[in-house]
C-alpha cells in the first residue's frame, strides 16, 4: 500500500509532461522524461488523398543537460520524419533532419509553420479539424514522450491568431 502511494506520488509530476498522455506510458521512463515537456502541439488539416501532413509543437527541456529529438512515430501515419523548411531567395526547400533536432539545456525549441516541423508521411486517414493525432517522440536522453496533437484547419498558423507578425 505504502509502495503504491509512493509510486503514485512519483508519477504525479509526470502527468503534466505531455498532452493527454496515459500515465502508464511514463512508468518505464519516469527517471528520464522528467526534463522534457511538450506544449502548443497541433497538426494541420489534410485533404482526402493527401499523403503527407504537418505537425507543430514546442519542446521545453528543463534539464541542465542538452537533449536531442531523434525520431518520432505515429499510429496515424506510415512514417514520421523531422523536417525543416527554409526560404532561400524565394525558393522553398524542405529537408529531412536526419541528425534530429538538438534541444538546448534549460531551453526550448519551437516547431512551427515556416520552419522545422513534424512530417507525417502516408497518413492513414485525412486529418480532419477536431481530430486527434497520436505522436510518440523519441529523445536521445529523455526517451519516449507521447503527445496527442489536435487537428487545426488548413489555414491555421499556430498560436491564437492566424497572422503571427510582430511588427
Amino acid at each position: 500500500m505504502t509502495r503504491r502511494i509512493l509510486l503514485a506520488a512519483a508519477c504525479l509530476p509526470l502527468a503534466t509532461l505531455a498532452i493527454a498522455a496515459p500515465a502508464h506510458d511514463y512508468a518505464p521512463h519516469r527517471h528520464s522524461t522528467k526534463a522534457i515537456a511538450i506544449s502548443d502541439g497541433w497538426a494541420r488539416e489534410t485533404a482526402p488523398g493527401q499523403v503527407n501532413g504537418g505537425g507543430f509543437l514546442t519542446i521545453t527541456n528543463a534539464s541542465y543537460q542538452p537533449d536531442r529529438l531523434i525520431g518520432a512515430a505515429s499510429p496515424n501515419a506510415a512514417a514520421v520524419q523531422l523536417h525543416t523548411m527554409t526560404m532561400d531567395g524565394g525558393i522553398m526547400r524542405m529537408r529531412q533532419l536526419v541528425d534530429g533536432i538538438p534541444i538546448p539545456a534549460n531551453g526550448s525549441v519551437e516547431l512551427k509553420p515556416g520552419g522545422m516541423h513534424i512530417m507525417f508521411m502516408g497518413v492513414r486517414a485525412p486529418f480532419r479539424p477536431g481530430g486527434q493525432i497520436k505522436l510518440s517522440l523519441r529523445f536521445a536522453k529523455a526517451g519516449r514522450v507521447d503527445v496527442t496533437l489536435p487537428v487545426r484547419p488548413v489555414g491555421a498558423m499556430g498560436g491564437m491568431d492566424m497572422n503571427h507578425d510582430h511588427h
Partner: protein
C-alpha cells in the same frame, strides 16, 4: 539542377524594409530567370506578355485540357507547388482563399490556380481533392513533365526534384504567387513573406 544547402540568414537591422526590399530583389531575380527562359526560345504565339506568363497547356482535375484561354478575361493568382508539401503550399493557398473573401464581390472575378509540379505523385483527381480543402473554388492543374517544364519556364518558376533518404523525393520550388491580369499580363507577386495586408493591396490592384 542545382542543389544547395539551405542557408538561413539572421535578422537584419533593416527589418522594416526587409519585406519590400526582399520583394524587389525577388521580382528582379524572377524577372532575370524569366528573361533567361525566353532568350533563344520561340515565344508563344498566343500571348506576348511583358513579363512572366504566357501560353500553356495543362490538365484539369477532371482530365480535360486547360490552357491560358480558359482564364481569358479573368484576373488570376497562380501558384506552383505539390500536394505532399505540408507547409508553404497550404499556407499560400489558405492565404489566397482568406484574402479572396476580403475582396468582396471582386473576389469572385479572381481565379485562383494551383499547378502541381509533381506529376510523379499528383494525378489530376488528387489535385482536385486537394484544392477542395481551402473552402473556395481553386483550379487545380498538372501536366506532363514537358508541359510543366514549359509553363515553369514561361513563369520563371524554379522547380528541382531533390532525392530523399529512402528513395523518395521532395521538390524545391518558388514559393511566390503570380498575379496576372485579365489580359494574361503579369501584375505582381505575392511572396511568402507578405503579410495579409500587403498581399490584399496587391490583390485589390489586380481585381479593381
Amino acid at each position: 539542377m542545382t542543389i544547395t544547402d539551405p542557408n538561413h540568414t539572421g535578422p537584419s537591422p533593416l527589418k522594416r524594409w526587409r519585406g519590400p526590399l526582399w520583394g524587389l530583389a525577388m521580382a528582379a531575380a524572377l524577372g532575370m530567370a524569366w528573361y533567361e527562359g525566353q532568350t533563344g526560345s520561340t515565344r508563344p504565339a498566343a500571348a506576348l506578355p511583358a513579363g512572366p506568363g504566357g501560353a500553356f497547356a495543362l490538365t484539369a482535375s477532371d482530365g480535360t485540357t486547360f490552357t491560358e484561354r480558359n482564364l481569358a478575361g479573368r484576373p488570376f493568382a497562380i501558384y506552383f507547388g505539390f500536394t505532399r508539401c505540408p507547409e508553404v503550399c497550404p499556407t499560400s493557398l489558405a492565404k489566397l482563399a482568406r484574402l479572396r473573401a476580403k475582396l468582396g464581390s471582386d473576389g469572385a472575378r479572381l481565379a485562383i490556380v494551383f499547378v502541381s509540379v509533381d506529376p510523379g505523385h499528383d494525378k489530376p483527381a488528387d489535385i482536385g481533392r486537394y484544392v477542395t480543402l481551402f473552402g473556395t473554388p481553386i483550379i487545380g492543374l498538372t501536366g506532363s513533365e514537358t508541359q510543366l517544364a514549359q509553363i515553369t519556364k514561361a513563369y520563371g518558376v524554379y522547380v528541382a526534384k531533390v532525392p530523399q533518404p529512402g528513395g523518395d523525393y521532395t521538390i524545391d520550388h518558388t514559393a511566390a504567387t503570380y498575379l496576372m491580369d485579365a489580359n494574361g499580363q503579369f501584375s505582381n507577386l505575392i511572396t511568402h513573406d507578405d503579410t495579409d495586408e500587403a498581399a490584399l493591396v496587391k490583390l485589390r490592384q489586380l481585381v479593381s
